[in-house]
Amino acid sequence: MVDKTVLARQFIEAIPHARALNLTLTHIGEGEAEITLPYNEDLIGDPRTGVIHGGAISTILDTCCGAAVMSHPSAPGGTATIDLRIDYMRAATPGQTITARATCYHITRNVAFVRATAVDNDNDLPVATAAGSFTVEGN
Protein backbone atom coordinates (compact mmCIF):
# COMPACT_ATOMS: atom_id res chain seq x y z
CA MET A 1 0.00 0.00 0.00
CA VAL A 2 2.95 2.32 -0.63
CA ASP A 3 1.08 3.98 -3.47
CA LYS A 4 -1.77 5.08 -1.26
CA THR A 5 0.62 6.58 1.30
CA VAL A 6 2.34 8.57 -1.43
CA LEU A 7 -1.04 9.57 -2.82
CA ALA A 8 -2.23 10.76 0.59
CA ARG A 9 0.90 12.82 1.14
CA GLN A 10 0.56 14.43 -2.30
CA PHE A 11 -3.12 15.04 -1.63
CA ILE A 12 -2.45 16.80 1.69
CA GLU A 13 0.39 18.86 0.27
CA ALA A 14 -1.74 19.96 -2.71
CA ILE A 15 -4.35 21.53 -0.42
CA PRO A 16 -4.09 25.32 -0.82
CA HIS A 17 -5.16 26.02 2.77
CA ALA A 18 -2.70 23.43 4.14
CA ARG A 19 0.01 25.34 2.26
CA ALA A 20 -1.22 28.68 3.61
CA LEU A 21 -0.74 27.31 7.13
CA ASN A 22 2.56 25.54 6.30
CA LEU A 23 1.19 22.16 7.37
CA THR A 24 3.63 19.26 7.06
CA LEU A 25 2.65 15.61 7.01
CA THR A 26 5.22 13.93 9.24
CA HIS A 27 3.71 10.44 9.41
CA ILE A 28 0.97 8.52 7.64
CA GLY A 29 -0.18 4.95 7.23
CA GLU A 30 -2.51 2.22 8.49
CA GLY A 31 -5.21 4.67 9.56
CA GLU A 32 -2.87 6.97 11.45
CA ALA A 33 -1.52 10.40 10.58
CA GLU A 34 0.64 13.11 12.12
CA ILE A 35 0.73 16.72 10.92
CA THR A 36 2.62 19.73 12.25
CA LEU A 37 1.67 23.41 12.23
CA PRO A 38 4.57 25.82 12.83
CA TYR A 39 3.88 28.93 14.96
CA ASN A 40 2.87 31.88 12.80
CA GLU A 41 1.90 35.37 13.97
CA ASP A 42 -0.87 35.52 11.35
CA LEU A 43 -2.72 32.83 13.30
CA ILE A 44 -2.82 34.67 16.62
CA GLY A 45 -6.27 34.72 18.20
CA ASP A 46 -5.45 36.88 21.21
CA PRO A 47 -3.05 39.71 20.32
CA ARG A 48 -2.34 40.39 24.01
CA THR A 49 -0.91 36.93 24.68
CA GLY A 50 0.14 35.73 21.20
CA VAL A 51 -1.87 32.50 21.63
CA ILE A 52 -2.88 30.76 18.37
CA HIS A 53 -6.60 30.94 17.51
CA GLY A 54 -8.70 27.81 18.10
CA GLY A 55 -9.76 27.93 14.45
CA ALA A 56 -6.21 27.11 13.31
CA ILE A 57 -6.16 24.17 15.73
CA SER A 58 -9.49 23.01 14.20
CA THR A 59 -7.92 23.12 10.75
CA ILE A 60 -4.89 21.01 11.62
CA LEU A 61 -7.09 18.50 13.49
CA ASP A 62 -9.59 18.27 10.61
CA THR A 63 -6.80 17.82 8.05
CA CYS A 64 -5.07 15.21 10.19
CA CYS A 65 -8.32 13.25 10.71
CA GLY A 66 -8.99 13.28 6.94
CA ALA A 67 -5.45 12.03 6.25
CA ALA A 68 -5.87 9.22 8.81
CA VAL A 69 -9.08 8.09 7.08
CA MET A 70 -7.46 8.09 3.63
CA SER A 71 -4.51 6.07 4.90
CA HIS A 72 -6.71 3.33 6.39
CA PRO A 73 -6.22 -0.01 4.60
CA SER A 74 -10.01 -0.34 4.11
CA ALA A 75 -10.51 3.17 2.71
CA PRO A 76 -10.95 3.10 -1.04
CA GLY A 77 -10.25 6.78 -1.69
CA GLY A 78 -11.35 10.23 -0.66
CA THR A 79 -13.19 11.45 2.39
CA ALA A 80 -15.12 14.45 3.69
CA THR A 81 -15.95 15.54 7.22
CA ILE A 82 -19.47 14.74 8.40
CA ASP A 83 -19.02 16.07 11.91
CA LEU A 84 -16.12 17.11 14.09
CA ARG A 85 -16.12 17.96 17.78
CA ILE A 86 -13.17 19.74 19.35
CA ASP A 87 -12.48 20.11 23.06
CA TYR A 88 -10.05 22.84 24.00
CA MET A 89 -8.08 21.86 27.09
CA ARG A 90 -5.69 24.79 27.30
CA ALA A 91 -4.08 27.63 25.33
CA ALA A 92 -1.19 26.57 23.07
CA THR A 93 2.12 28.05 24.22
CA PRO A 94 3.07 30.96 21.91
CA GLY A 95 6.07 30.24 19.68
CA GLN A 96 5.72 26.46 19.75
CA THR A 97 4.85 24.12 16.88
CA ILE A 98 1.52 22.30 17.15
CA THR A 99 1.53 18.56 16.38
CA ALA A 100 -1.73 16.74 15.61
CA ARG A 101 -2.02 12.95 15.72
CA ALA A 102 -5.15 11.22 14.42
CA THR A 103 -6.31 7.60 14.47
CA CYS A 104 -9.08 6.20 12.33
CA TYR A 105 -10.18 3.56 14.88
CA HIS A 106 -13.15 2.16 13.00
CA ILE A 107 -14.30 2.19 9.41
CA THR A 108 -17.39 0.81 7.67
CA ARG A 109 -18.35 0.90 3.98
CA ASN A 110 -19.80 4.37 4.46
CA VAL A 111 -18.42 5.96 7.60
CA ALA A 112 -15.01 6.36 9.24
CA PHE A 113 -14.64 7.20 12.94
CA VAL A 114 -11.63 9.22 14.00
CA ARG A 115 -10.00 10.55 17.18
CA ALA A 116 -7.22 13.11 17.29
CA THR A 117 -5.04 15.02 19.72
CA ALA A 118 -3.13 18.29 19.33
CA VAL A 119 -0.09 19.04 21.50
CA ASP A 120 2.68 21.65 21.62
CA ASN A 121 6.12 20.97 23.17
CA ASP A 122 4.36 19.54 26.24
CA ASN A 123 3.37 16.09 25.03
CA ASP A 124 1.60 15.12 28.22
CA LEU A 125 -1.13 17.75 28.34
CA PRO A 126 -2.96 18.11 25.02
CA VAL A 127 -3.96 21.56 23.76
CA ALA A 128 -7.08 20.06 22.20
CA THR A 129 -8.69 16.74 21.33
CA ALA A 130 -11.08 15.95 18.50
CA ALA A 131 -13.59 13.25 17.66
CA GLY A 132 -15.31 13.04 14.32
CA SER A 133 -17.04 11.00 11.68
CA PHE A 134 -16.04 11.13 8.02
CA THR A 135 -17.50 9.89 4.75
CA VAL A 136 -15.92 6.96 2.92
CA GLU A 137 -15.84 7.72 -0.78
CA GLY A 138 -14.79 6.03 -3.96
CA ASN A 139 -16.26 2.53 -3.41
Binding site: P16, D62, A80
Partner: protein, 172 residues
Protein backbone atom coordinates in the same frame (compact mmCIF):
# COMPACT_ATOMS: atom_id res chain seq x y z
CA UNK B 1 -40.20 62.57 34.01
CA UNK B 2 -38.80 63.82 30.73
CA UNK B 3 -37.17 61.30 28.44
CA UNK B 4 -33.54 62.22 27.70
CA UNK B 5 -33.01 63.48 24.19
CA UNK B 6 -31.84 60.59 21.91
CA UNK B 7 -28.27 60.84 20.70
CA UNK B 8 -27.67 61.91 17.10
CA UNK B 9 -27.65 58.85 14.81
CA UNK B 10 -24.07 59.38 13.62
CA UNK B 11 -22.79 59.32 17.21
CA UNK B 12 -24.50 56.02 17.90
CA UNK B 13 -23.22 54.50 14.66
CA UNK B 14 -19.72 55.84 15.13
CA UNK B 15 -19.43 54.38 18.63
CA UNK B 16 -20.84 50.96 17.72
CA UNK B 17 -18.84 50.63 14.50
CA UNK B 18 -15.62 51.69 16.25
CA UNK B 19 -16.18 49.08 18.97
CA UNK B 20 -16.92 46.34 16.43
CA UNK B 21 -13.91 47.31 14.31
CA UNK B 22 -11.62 47.21 17.35
CA UNK B 23 -13.02 43.82 18.36
CA UNK B 24 -12.53 42.27 14.90
CA UNK B 25 -9.51 44.02 13.38
CA UNK B 26 -7.37 43.49 16.46
CA UNK B 27 -7.24 39.73 15.88
CA UNK B 28 -4.59 38.64 13.33
CA UNK B 29 -6.28 35.28 12.57
CA UNK B 30 -9.59 37.02 11.64
CA UNK B 31 -7.62 39.22 9.21
CA UNK B 32 -5.76 36.16 7.88
CA UNK B 33 -9.06 34.47 6.97
CA UNK B 34 -10.48 37.84 5.83
CA UNK B 35 -13.66 37.69 7.90
CA UNK B 36 -15.68 40.87 8.42
CA UNK B 37 -18.94 41.60 10.23
CA UNK B 38 -22.08 43.38 9.04
CA UNK B 39 -23.97 45.11 11.81
CA UNK B 40 -27.68 46.01 11.93
CA UNK B 41 -28.38 47.41 15.39
CA UNK B 42 -26.90 44.78 17.67
CA UNK B 43 -27.33 41.95 15.14
CA UNK B 44 -24.12 40.69 13.55
CA UNK B 45 -23.52 38.66 10.39
CA UNK B 46 -20.06 37.22 9.77
CA UNK B 47 -18.82 37.39 6.18
CA UNK B 48 -16.04 35.07 4.99
CA UNK B 49 -14.56 36.68 1.88
CA UNK B 50 -13.54 33.91 -0.48
CA UNK B 51 -9.90 33.49 -1.46
CA UNK B 52 -8.10 30.61 -3.19
CA UNK B 53 -5.99 30.01 -0.08
CA UNK B 54 -9.15 28.90 1.80
CA UNK B 55 -9.60 25.85 -0.45
CA UNK B 56 -9.38 22.43 1.19
CA UNK B 57 -10.27 20.23 -1.76
CA UNK B 58 -8.75 21.54 -4.99
CA UNK B 59 -10.60 18.96 -7.14
CA UNK B 60 -14.17 20.07 -6.33
CA UNK B 61 -13.08 22.84 -5.37
CA UNK B 62 -14.43 23.37 -1.82
CA UNK B 63 -13.62 25.50 1.22
CA UNK B 64 -11.47 23.66 3.80
CA UNK B 65 -13.50 22.10 6.62
CA UNK B 66 -11.11 23.69 9.11
CA UNK B 67 -11.78 27.12 7.63
CA UNK B 68 -15.53 26.50 7.93
CA UNK B 69 -15.08 25.50 11.58
CA UNK B 70 -12.88 28.54 12.22
CA UNK B 71 -15.38 30.87 10.52
CA UNK B 72 -18.22 29.51 12.68
CA UNK B 73 -16.12 29.74 15.84
CA UNK B 74 -15.00 33.31 15.08
CA UNK B 75 -18.64 34.29 14.49
CA UNK B 76 -19.67 32.65 17.77
CA UNK B 77 -16.91 34.33 19.83
CA UNK B 78 -17.37 37.79 18.29
CA UNK B 79 -21.17 37.64 18.66
CA UNK B 80 -20.86 36.46 22.26
CA UNK B 81 -18.26 39.15 23.09
CA UNK B 82 -20.38 41.78 21.34
CA UNK B 83 -23.55 40.90 23.25
CA UNK B 84 -21.59 40.60 26.49
CA UNK B 85 -20.03 44.05 26.06
CA UNK B 86 -22.84 45.86 24.26
CA UNK B 87 -24.30 47.52 27.36
CA UNK B 88 -20.88 48.72 28.54
CA UNK B 89 -20.02 50.02 25.07
CA UNK B 90 -23.34 51.90 24.94
CA UNK B 91 -22.86 53.43 28.39
CA UNK B 92 -19.31 54.49 27.55
CA UNK B 93 -17.93 52.28 30.34
CA UNK B 94 -15.78 50.49 27.72
CA UNK B 95 -13.75 52.70 25.42
CA UNK B 96 -14.48 51.38 21.93
CA UNK B 97 -10.97 51.98 20.63
CA UNK B 98 -9.29 50.27 23.58
CA UNK B 99 -11.16 46.95 23.46
CA UNK B 100 -8.21 44.89 22.25
CA UNK B 101 -5.37 46.74 23.97
CA UNK B 102 -7.04 47.07 27.37
CA UNK B 103 -5.85 44.04 29.31
CA UNK B 104 -8.72 44.28 31.78
CA UNK B 105 -11.20 43.44 29.01
CA UNK B 106 -11.38 39.67 28.67
CA UNK B 107 -12.99 37.50 26.02
CA UNK B 108 -15.03 34.28 26.19
CA UNK B 109 -12.92 31.13 25.84
CA UNK B 110 -14.05 28.14 23.77
CA UNK B 111 -14.58 25.00 25.85
CA UNK B 112 -15.83 22.80 23.03
CA UNK B 113 -17.11 23.28 19.51
CA UNK B 114 -18.97 20.79 17.28
CA UNK B 115 -19.45 21.36 13.57
CA UNK B 116 -21.93 19.59 11.27
CA UNK B 117 -20.88 19.72 7.65
CA UNK B 118 -24.12 19.74 5.66
CA UNK B 119 -22.82 20.36 2.13
CA UNK B 120 -19.48 21.36 0.68
CA UNK B 121 -18.52 25.02 0.94
CA UNK B 122 -18.48 26.46 -2.58
CA UNK B 123 -15.63 28.71 -3.74
CA UNK B 124 -17.46 31.97 -2.97
CA UNK B 125 -18.31 34.20 0.02
CA UNK B 126 -20.03 32.64 3.04
CA UNK B 127 -22.17 34.15 5.78
CA UNK B 128 -22.76 33.12 9.38
CA UNK B 129 -24.94 34.15 12.26
CA UNK B 130 -24.67 33.06 15.90
CA UNK B 131 -27.55 32.60 18.32
CA UNK B 132 -26.86 32.66 22.02
CA UNK B 133 -28.99 29.89 23.49
CA UNK B 134 -27.96 30.72 27.02
CA UNK B 135 -25.42 33.05 28.53
CA UNK B 136 -24.89 32.57 32.23
CA UNK B 137 -22.34 34.02 34.62
CA UNK B 138 -19.80 31.31 33.86
CA UNK B 139 -20.90 29.38 30.79
CA UNK B 140 -22.55 30.21 27.50
CA UNK B 141 -24.16 27.94 24.91
CA UNK B 142 -24.06 29.17 21.32
CA UNK B 143 -25.47 27.84 18.03
CA UNK B 144 -24.14 29.06 14.69
CA UNK B 145 -25.45 28.72 11.14
CA UNK B 146 -23.53 29.30 7.90
CA UNK B 147 -24.85 29.62 4.37
CA UNK B 148 -23.77 30.85 0.95
CA UNK B 149 -26.18 31.62 -1.90
CA UNK B 150 -29.37 30.60 -0.18
CA UNK B 151 -29.98 31.28 3.49
CA UNK B 152 -32.41 28.35 3.70
CA UNK B 153 -29.69 25.91 2.59
CA UNK B 154 -27.08 25.93 5.32
CA UNK B 155 -23.70 24.46 4.37
CA UNK B 156 -22.64 24.08 8.01
CA UNK B 157 -24.00 24.49 11.49
CA UNK B 158 -22.26 24.31 14.84
CA UNK B 159 -22.83 24.48 18.53
CA UNK B 160 -20.36 25.20 21.25
CA UNK B 161 -19.79 26.04 24.88
CA UNK B 162 -17.81 29.00 26.12
CA UNK B 163 -16.32 30.08 29.41
CA UNK B 164 -17.38 33.66 30.06
CA UNK B 165 -14.81 36.19 31.27
CA UNK B 166 -14.99 36.52 35.04
CA UNK B 167 -15.48 40.05 36.34
CA UNK B 168 -12.47 41.43 38.25
CA UNK B 169 -12.75 41.24 42.04
CA UNK B 170 -15.09 43.94 43.32
CA UNK B 171 -13.10 46.76 44.91
CA UNK B 172 -15.75 47.38 47.60
Amino acid sequence: MARPRPEPVQMVKQRRDAALRALVDGVPYIRFLNISFDRRGDELTGVLHFDDKLIGNPFLPAIHGGVTAAFLEVTAVITLSWEHMFASIESGEIDAEAIVTDKSIRFPKTIDFTVDYLRSGLPRDAYARAFISRSGRRYASVRVEAWQDNHAKLFAQASGHFLMPQPPMDKN
